[in-house]
Amino acid sequence: MVAFILRRLIQSLFVMFFVALVSFSMFRFVGDPVHQMVGIETSLEEREALREKLGLRDPVIVQFGNYIAKAAVLEFGVSYQHKRPVAEMLAERMPATLELALVSAVFSLLIGVPMGVYTGLNRDGFFSKMFLSISLVGISLPTFLIGILLIFVFSVQLNWLPSFGRGGVVDLGGWTTSFLTVDGWKSLILPSITLGLFQLTLIMRLVRSEMLEVLRTDYIKFARARGLSNRAVHFGHALKNTLVPVITITGLQLGSIIAFAIITETVFQWPGMGQMFLQAVTTVDIPIMAAYLMLIAFFFVVINLIVDMLYYVVDPRLRVDTGKATGHG
């Protein structure tokens, strides 16, 4: 167990190191940082002094070391565009993105799992076929188009739900939440459906194929032979055993949800990190881009780590000493 966690930790550190290298190179070699920070009227001497102060004359290795040391204490420099510390800007916008990601993950699980169970149990039912074909169309549609369609139907035509922003927000000591107002919840509906739809189809298809697989196994036949009710067989025995891959995929998808929020946040003008990142890409605000990359990488790595450990907890087979077991490298 310890060896397993240690190995995964080293792998994660390697990934973070690589991402840090990429984000440092972006910061250092794309355009001239000094040129971006000062105005036109700054004299040559002042520029040189700033260059010295920022340590841009040190050897590149030393600069990289400094960059990592600063990133470790969440110091990502100052935005070129807004002249404010990047860490502060990210912290302001993080709650919006995380709440959106959380709600859409829960939404995709709550709808996706029952739909998967249903289509798995009634393979040839009319609704199963309908769900599956709709999900194929859903996968083909780009995220931003789904968002536009939802806005068109529910905001423009029916005028039921707001189409932009977070609605009423309550500030809980630095963490702004839209969970505490009706308006906030209403504003969450369309963006989280847009963001969660792809995950929903993924989870549905996964649960379906796992159910089909599990229902063919011997222990299900045995459970039926023991005279257990359909309900007990389907939900107590079959569904329970399909949940391991579902946990993994949902966990891993949480990272992509946060990244895909870039698109959804733009469509719904949601004031989150993704929207800020996109503005940074448009204006080539490298410090924000670099910091966002590091942050997303960190999310991915942590989520991957947690999912791996969950797997370890849920599936007893993995707990066998890896030295003896085959197949699990």
């Binding site: 996109l278 940074a280 890409v281």
Partner: protein
């Protein structure tokens, strides 16, 4: 060795006949959905190739568009104008013509970036599988890290970096290059992993060892002997990647870091039209959106079918 025209001709008719007798054509004629998808895809290609000749108007000819025609609804609606089937946008441009020109741009960028990632991915995969060792470990590690992030995020990053590195003033001219590079560079991993796998299998086969023995240079062995034998699955990946590349281009353009409104792709059209959704001119954005969705769905279905047809195990 030069072949005579005669044998080339017979070779061609032979292979064409083999194709129509073969499994692939057979499974094609058995799947009506695939035939419809192929028809639609062909229609788009035709539209892309001959756009300027079949479009009813030229949306970029400032002389022919007038503000008097602005914001007309589709022809079948009240106040619609029979000259503009799908209506006009805020500047009086024909939406149908804009879609035809836009599909042309979308397909062009889609193809170019698929070719770029194909060359990059197949090349790196070949090297990785053939050379092995540290080179292989390095390439595959980079691939793994890149694969763990969504490709749209990588494309956005490359896009930002490229636009920072190039002179931003020339953005309009460079927009094509930046888009193709950012989509192409973010999608090579799939090819590399597949080709690496099959290269490692081929590397140990007798014909490769024989080539080594008679002293052919490794580069030539990779190019002439291994490459033709690992290309099969690449075709399938490329078809599915075409759909993904078109989506990526549309997404980037929609997000405002793709093509400018002066040279709109389908994504740019949707972005521009989106501003008028609330004032009731839904046709400016919904029709390009539908055109994009149909194109992507058709290419996706073709890709799925091709994957199943080339891999009998999956059937």
């Amino acid at each position: 060795m030069a072949e005579t025209p005669m044998t080339t001709g017979r070779g061609w008719t032979d292979s064409i006949r083999r194709f129509f007798d073969g499994d692939i054509w057979h499974s094609f004629t058995r799947s009506p959905v695939t035939m419809v998808a192929a028809g639609i895809t062909f229609l788009y290609f035709f539209m892309a190739a001959f756009g300027p000749w079949i479009a009813p108007h030229n949306p970029f000819d400032l002389a022919s568009i007038t503000l008097l025609d602005a914001s007309l609804p589709p022809a079948w609606m009240e106040y619609g104008d029979p000259r503009f089937w799908l209506g006009t946008d805020i500047q009086g441009r024909d939406v149908l013509s804009a879609i035809i020109y836009g599909s042309r741009v979308s397909l062009l960028i889609g193809f170019a970036s698929v070719i770029l990632s194909l060359i990059l991915g197949v090349g790196l995969g070949l090297i990785s599988g053939f050379v092995g060792g540290a080179v292989d470990a390095f390439i595959m590690r980079v691939a793994e890290i890149q694969l763990s992030f969504p490709s749209i995020l990588i494309a956005l990053l490359i896009n930002g970096v490229l636009r920072g590195a190039m002179d931003i003033q020339d953005q309009a001219d460079l927009a094509y290059t930046v888009l193709i590079l950012s989509i192409g560079l973010s999608n090579w991993v799939q090819y590399a992993r597949t080709v690496r796998g099959s290269t490692m299998v081929e590397r140990n086969k007798e014909y490769v060892q024989a080539a080594h023995v008679i002293g052919i240079r490794p580069i030539l062995i990779m190019w002439r002997h291994i490459l033709p034998n690992v290309l099969g699955p690449v075709l399938v990946i490329a078809t599915i990647q075409l759909a993904l590349a078109i989506i990526a281009e549309a997404t980037l353009s929609f997000l405002g870091v793709g093509l400018p409104p002066t040279e709109p792709s389908l994504g740019t059209l949707i972005r521009v039209g989106n501003d008028y959704l609330f004032s009731g001119e839904w046709w400016i954005t919904i029709f390009p959106g539908a055109a994009l969705a149909i194109l992507v769905l058709a290419v996706n279905l073709l890709g799925d079918w091709l994957r199943d047809a080339l891999n009998p195990k999956l059937r």
